[in-house]
Symmetry: C2
Subunit: 353 residues, 2 copies
DNA sequence: CGCGAAATCTGTAACGATACAGTAGCGTTG
DNA sequence: CAACGCTACTGTATCGTTACAGATTTCGCG
């Protein structure tokens, strides 16, 4: 047919109707597939005008690279995996976490895949799966432990990740954390300011890193502000609400009963309140309470409890930014963040009523 | 070298160390790549013994098909996409939903990808994206509307999906729903049983299908049990807690004040309680309340509120099963489920204290 | 005028899987 | 015994992309 035009776009006109590929653009521009590919990546050996032309056509026809093609060829999955325990949390912190992560990923080519693992018996399972199958370019993990085998494994195998919570392995890696030490310290200050002296802490489970953070803050506060720590290790925030309530009711009925409580979780606080009331006492009178919360229900329903808000959505955002930074090769020490607790102001009453 | 053995496994010995592929198995068994592929899918034209041998080797070396390879060749993504609004819900129903879905997917080859869309302005955005890029084999959507353009689009384009909530388009499709009509009806019964007569409903936003379900149940209850409906349409469960509280406080201060409340959401209930109390009245005395809840916080903190539990985790499971069923070609009418409300028993007090 | 370098562009092979169109071997049948 | 059909297996092409190793053209410069 046309003997003049070099037979570019190798085989023939691409089948119409389907989704556009590099071949489509190659055909439309009269360029080679390789050129188009390189033009779209802004490679240095492609002419400026050509790049412009390719970009224009690509945008016009709504070209989007085929993820499977890229993944097969390069190994890049463009996937971030959020690894979760199925058992995780009564009071969904997963919700805002997922939302926060996707907010960041929405501006990128990354997709979020949720990878669960059942029961604490095999936390390495999903990590191994991701490593073995190359399922993701980066991983976000939570419930971080001081010596966390997942962190070890991911580091060894050079898979980028970010942890919600810190580790204590002398290993610098991306993380986001809430300053739980500071929270507990300030909580104690608040209670002492209000005349409370005999304090208890409903602590995180001992295996997680922020257990010691919170304990440290609590104990430092108790020392600095001249209070007294009442022992309460029978339960932690991972226990059922019923277990927490029962244990705390018992404590409140005993001669050791505290007059101030710091709760490491919002749902734990609910159980503590129930325990106090089951013992026939009143929150805000017989005992005052400060709790870390992921929402503001408690503030609405029990304004007498002082709360510090931990914004999980922001945590999700920070974690997403951190993994991506890690993937892009930024040094891990620049990918760490710690968010500071702030007391929530008392509930605003509507001014106009 | 060995002239006798036919040169099977086409090129040469696969590079060691990497992850096993069909080629690896082909090399190990001395079969062709095609044979291995077909053996693993239990194709009828492969000998029983050969299949056995291939399966054994595959299991031994931990073969897992490369998702990108499959996806590129067949178009099957093995992905289910959960489409969410970023703004969605204060009280995370996303958490248990995600958990429920992954519980089901864990037993399959499917991965869960969370695809968000910002603001209600473009609910079709993510759907189009998935359709255009072939990003998933199936989709789960929520906040379903009576005439839902997403459902129309997905149906037209034959992409399997399941909706959380029903539609009213004369179109049979997979869904899971909570029986909100029944909930409201039974809620009214409960209130009337306790001597309440002037009732209000805090309703879902009018654009969602379950708005009319809940209203219908409410109104039918009001008729059947001889109560009276007090108008309260200024706000719905999508409004801010502050807005709900203020509106309800106003109502409670007016001569029209109701003595019974049905709340379509747990967080809404919290705002209603605040409204009642802001008006100087008491929940359980001046007005009684029944609420649908996704957790049991309310029961712990405000046992005077009667609650019906909607198990979102189960919804997640049902939806996952439904999409997969749809993908596998089961008729949609067999992929519909409706979960029945149940009153929650009053909080169990610990017997041993 | 010839030659090398620079600037652009290109074809081929490969990633791992599968659809498709075979082929080889063997027993049956007229 | 030729033709046929069946069983069991195989090679090739292909999905969309990119790495790599050219190829072509232009231009400066001796």
């Amino acid at each position: 047919m046309d003997g003049k035009t070099k037979n570019r776009a190798t085989t023939a006109a691409p089948v119409e109707g389907g989704r556009p590929t590099l071949k489509t653009i190659a055909f439309m521009t009269g360029l080679g597939v390789t050129t188009v590919s390189r033009a779209l990546k802004d490679a240095p050996d492609i002419g400026a005008e050509t790049k412009e032309r390719v970009r224009l056509v690509a945008k016009q026809i709504g070209y989007q690279p085929n993820r499977a093609g890229v993944r097969l060829r390069t190994g890049k999955t463009n996937v971030i995996s959020l690894v979760l325990t199925l058992e995780e949390e009564i009071m969904g912190i997963t919700s805002p976490m997922v939302i926060g992560i996707t907010e960041i990923l929405a501006g990128t080519q990354y997709h979020l895949v949720v990878t669960p693992y059942s029961s604490a018996k095999d936390p390495l399972g999903p990590i191994r799966y991701i490593l073995d199958t190359g399922a993701a370019d980066g991983v976000i993990i939570s419930r971080t432990e001081p010596t966390d085998p997942r962190v070890t494994l991911l580091t060894e195998r050079h898979l980028p990740f970010a942890t919600h919570g810190r580790t204590e392995m002398g290993l610098i890696h991306p993380y986001h954390d809430f300053d739980n030490e500071r929270f507990a310290y300030e909580a104690v200050r608040k209670l002492v300011d209000r005349g409370r002296r005999r304090l208890v802490l409903l602590e995180p489970p001992p295996n997680l890193t922020f257990h010691s953070h919170m304990r440290t803050g609590f104990e430092r506060g108790v020392r600095d502000f001249g209070a007294e720590a009442v022992s309460f290790h029978q339960v932690n925030i991972d226990h059922s609400l019923v277990a927490i309530r029962d244990a705390f009711e018992k404590l409140m009925r005993s001669p050791d009963a505290p007059d101030g409580v710091v709760s490491g979780s919002g749902s734990g606080a609910i159980a503590l309140i129930a325990g106090i009331e089951a013992a026939g006492k009143r929150v805000g009178e017989d005992a005052e309470m400060v709790s870390k919360v992921p929402s503001d229900f408690l503030r609405w329903l029990r304004p007498e409890v002082m709360t510090m808000y931990e914004d999980i959505r922001i945590a999700g955002r920070e974690l997403a930014k951190a993994v991506i930074g890690h993937i892009e090769g930024h040094p891990p020490e620049t990918l760490q963040s710690l968010s500071q607790p702030e007391f929530q102001p008392p509930m605003a009453r509507s001014p106009r009523l």
